[in-house]
């Protein structure tokens, strides 16, 4: 049996930057990875993908970066040692308060000016995707706020402060108790590709990426509602 404790005395720290839509999955993967590799201490920093990319551009000592779209990943590729691999896919959905009190049935209903709709800002992937979906559907929504990351959108709806928001399907899975979802038809929906990359070459970094791509990672992602490539 291969020993997990190679010989290092001090814990090695592995800094992972992950899109906020990955929060629940990566929390779980962190625990399971650390159980497998007790000498490695995984620290995950969540945020809007573009904010994380900005931090990497500014020289944050990141080992692994998992982004919610390819465009944001492209910004950091000249600083990354590895090649990005798409490890998960996501789609958008409409979330409303539990029980759907405003009887929202689709994107077109979001144009009602009496509704408080929040979206993610266009500068983060979820916002760019939402804008794309609305454009495809030919729907013109006037949101009350452009939130700086997709989890903030879900939070405003589960707090009851907003009537509806557009988030990833997985955000609905994560907040299922407080929210209901109204599916967006595939013809109008987009597919969000999630790439992961080793930013700073290292044994632990590569192991973590392999772990996400392998069985445990895939199971956790599927469980959280992601589609697998």
């Amino acid at each position: 049996m291969a020993s997990a404790c190679g010989g290092g005395g001090d814990d090695e720290q592995l800094l992972v930057f992950a899109a906020s839509s990955l929060t629940d999955v990566f929390d779980r993967l962190e625990t399971e990875f650390e159980a497998l590799h007790p000498a490695i201490d995984v620290v995950v920093s969540y945020g809007g993908s573009s904010s994380l990319a900005g931090q990497i551009e500014q020289g944050a000592p990141t080992d692994v970066f998992a982004s919610a779209d390819l465009a944001t990943m492209a910004r950091v590729l000249d600083q990354a040692d590895g090649e990005p691999v798409v490890f998960a896919r996501n789609r958008l959905t409409i979330v409303v308060e539990f029980g759907n009190p405003e009887a929202i049935s689709g994107l077109i209903d979001l144009t009602d000016s009496n509704l408080i709709v929040v979206l993610a800002d266009r500068e983060v992937p979820a916002g760019a995707y939402a804008a794309e979906v609305l454009e495809r559907a030919g729907v013109d929504v006037e949101p009350a706020s452009y939130e700086s990351n997709v989890r903030a959108v879900a939070a405003k709806v589960s707090l009851g402060e907003a009537d509806a928001g557009i988030v990833y399907r997985t955000d609905f899975t994560a907040n299922g108790d407080d929210l209901d979802q109204i599916a967006i038809p595939d013809a109008e929906n987009v597919i969000a590709d999630y790439p992961i990359v080793v930013v700073r070459e290292g044994d632990a970094a590569q192991r973590f990426v392999d772990f996400v791509l392998a069985h445990t990672g895939r199971a956790a992602l599927a469980n959280a509602g992601f589609e697998l490539p």
Binding site: I116, V118, E123, S145, S148, K156, E161
Partner: protein
Amino acid sequence: MTDRRHTAETSRVLMVLGVCGALVFVLPLVALVVRAPWRSAGELATSGPIRSALWLSIVTSLVATVVSIVLGVPLAWVLARSRLPGRRLLRTICTLSMVLPPVVAGVALFLAVGRRGLIGEPLDRWFGITLPFTTPAVVLAQVFVAMPFLVLTVDAALEQLDRRFEDAARTLGGSEWFVFRHVTLPAIRPAVLTGAVLTWARALGEFGATITFAGSLPGVTRTMPLETYLALETDLDRAVLLSLLLVAISLTVLYALRGRWVGAALRGGGA
């Protein structure tokens, strides 16, 4: 001789430490100036999003300052002069938001005046008023985090004020209102102005409570600090320029007023 040498040494050590202390503030400022995209500055500064964010920031921070004066001066009077039980606890609560993480302030505001909030729910149900995601929400967030600067300053001035002036006016038959209006208020005027300037500066820089409670919509709730935060995610040049603009405004106002109001209040304590 030794004494004098000691003195010289002491002042040298203090000097070095003091300069290091100043560098903490000066260096980041210099870095902003050095890093600023001067070539495209004019074009960036007059762009639509920055103009609307700047205008919104100026208007909301001024309104927040006026609200803070109207409510904060009486509050300071209650804290300094009234015999209300639990005044010490009240004073602590009223200044808590100075040290609270602003995001906590935002969450607390949601729970109080949000659509499902303690007061927010009846407001919404009976009057159809909802605060979150509106410009008044921005002002409220600013008042919440900035008013303590005014309350603390005025409270301290009232504590220091020689009560014999007020007592004398009362003995001469002045009503409470007359005493407050013609004796107390003129005496603490410098403190009110100092507090107002500090409150305004804090309100101008408010970020966490605003983005949590008021959201971020161009022209409605997206103030300069929010615009800066967003710019940082995609366009560092724009973020630097926005930061510099905010710094320039605050610096100008604080520096210009320091000699007059702020200085006078610190020297005289209003007496």
